[in-house]
Amino acid sequence: MKVVLRNPRREVEVAGGRRVKDVLAELKIIPESVLVIRGDELVTADQVVRDDDVLELRPVMSGGGHP
């Protein structure tokens, strides 16, 4: 399964057939820090992803200088 990461943009391959939370744990990503996007929808941590899925892990953190 392909996972697209941002900042910087890159792609990694991981095994599918398991829950989103297990994929995040393997990539050492805290669920609170990303949106998990599949196509045009968000997926929750308990959903099972397939080998042919493409997930985007979009970081939600903004920082530095807010007004």
Partner: protein
């Protein structure tokens, strides 16, 4: 996972609320939190025009979107920081948003007002870029609001921003900063407009989800100067705490606002004057913004690049 309200398949889980929502019910939850923030802190009324500071990011555009939807009279303010392609792209996002919704957008350029864009200010002052940038933004937001007759400026600060700022202030026991941390800062001088943060009850994951569901085209890439910023490090620490104990960020911030802040408020006493140069409010004789502009001018006269 099922939506807490309608029982359909959930699209987002909010562990701190021990809840999950479908797309429609999450948006209603989000709007309710904004309404509650505005009501509780009397941020503004339906009769007032609100200047919304927008950066092209998820928080400020989500805020603008909600306020328009709720029927408020709003105008956007984009501050052009001159940070390479990042500023070009973020300005385009704000302009596209304003055009699509038929709402006005004001633009103010830091390079024109200070004499140089943020990357040059960073070089000239030899201070972290967020320092000169934040100073310029706070000053210009207030000045533009005054010039155009807005009684209030709304910013997209979310729960994570506020918790990280509080964390930083507590780590250094900055007792002068603590009383100023509030979802709504009243006008304490005729030349200071009210500043409010209607998203302070919502985490940045929630504002990102709202922007995604509303198909808001925002800039996902981070400001090139944010890498290594202390506020990011504090957010990461707080997220680890949140992972171990959902609700930790909420409890930290709301506990301070409800129980701690008043204790620091009592000991703060600041006398405000008008800057002898620009007339804006300052605690000294010449304001920090004019000092920054002087610094840039001097460096430019000595041959440093200002473009």
């Amino acid at each position: 996972m099922k939506c807490r309200k309608c029982g359909d398949r959930a699209s987002i889980e909010l562990r701190r609320h021990n809840a999950a929502f479908c797309v429609t019910d999450f948006q209603e939850f989000f709007r309710k939190q904004v309404r509650e923030a505005i009501r509780k802190h009397r941020m503004f009324t339906e009769d007032e025009s609100v200047l919304v500071a927008v950066s092209g990011g998820k928080d400020s555009l989500a805020l603008w979107d909600v306020l328009i939807d709720e029927g408020y009279r709003t105008t956007g303010l984009y501050l052009d920081l001159g940070i390479f392609d990042y500023s070009v792209e973020s300005k385009a996002k704000c302009e596209a948003f304003a055009a699509a919704r038929g709402v006005p957008l004001l633009v103010s350029s830091v390079a024109e007002e200070v004499g140089a864009p943020v990357p040059v200010i960073k070089q000239v002052t030899r201070r972290p870029p967020c320092s000169g940038c934040g100073l310029s933004k706070r000053y210009l937001m207030n000045r533009v609001a005054l010039e155009h007759g807005f009684p209030v400026v709304a910013t997209g600060h979310n729960l994570d921003d506020e918790a990280a700022t509080l964390f930083g202030s507590v780590m250094h026991w900055q007792t002068d900063a603590l009383p100023r941390q509030s979802p709504a800062l009243a006008s304490t001088h005729p030349k200071l407009v009210r500043r409010v943060k209607p998203l302070y009850r919502l985490s940045e994951r929630e504002t990102a989800a709202y922007a995604f569901f509303r198909k808001i085209d925002y800039i996902v890439d981070e400001c090139p100067f944010a890498k290594g910023a202390t506020s990011i490090a504090h957010k990461e620490i707080l997220n680890q705490m949140e992972e171990a104990s959902p609700g930790a960020k909420h409890n930290f911030l709301f506990g301070f606002l409800e129980k701690g802040r008043a204790a620091f408020e009592r000991i703060e006493h600041v006398e405000l004057h008008e800057c002898v140069r620009c007339g804006q409010v300052t605690t000294g004789t010449v304001c920090a913004f004019c000092k920054l502009a002087d610094h840039v001018k001097r460096a430019s006269a000595e041959g440093a690049p200002t473009a």
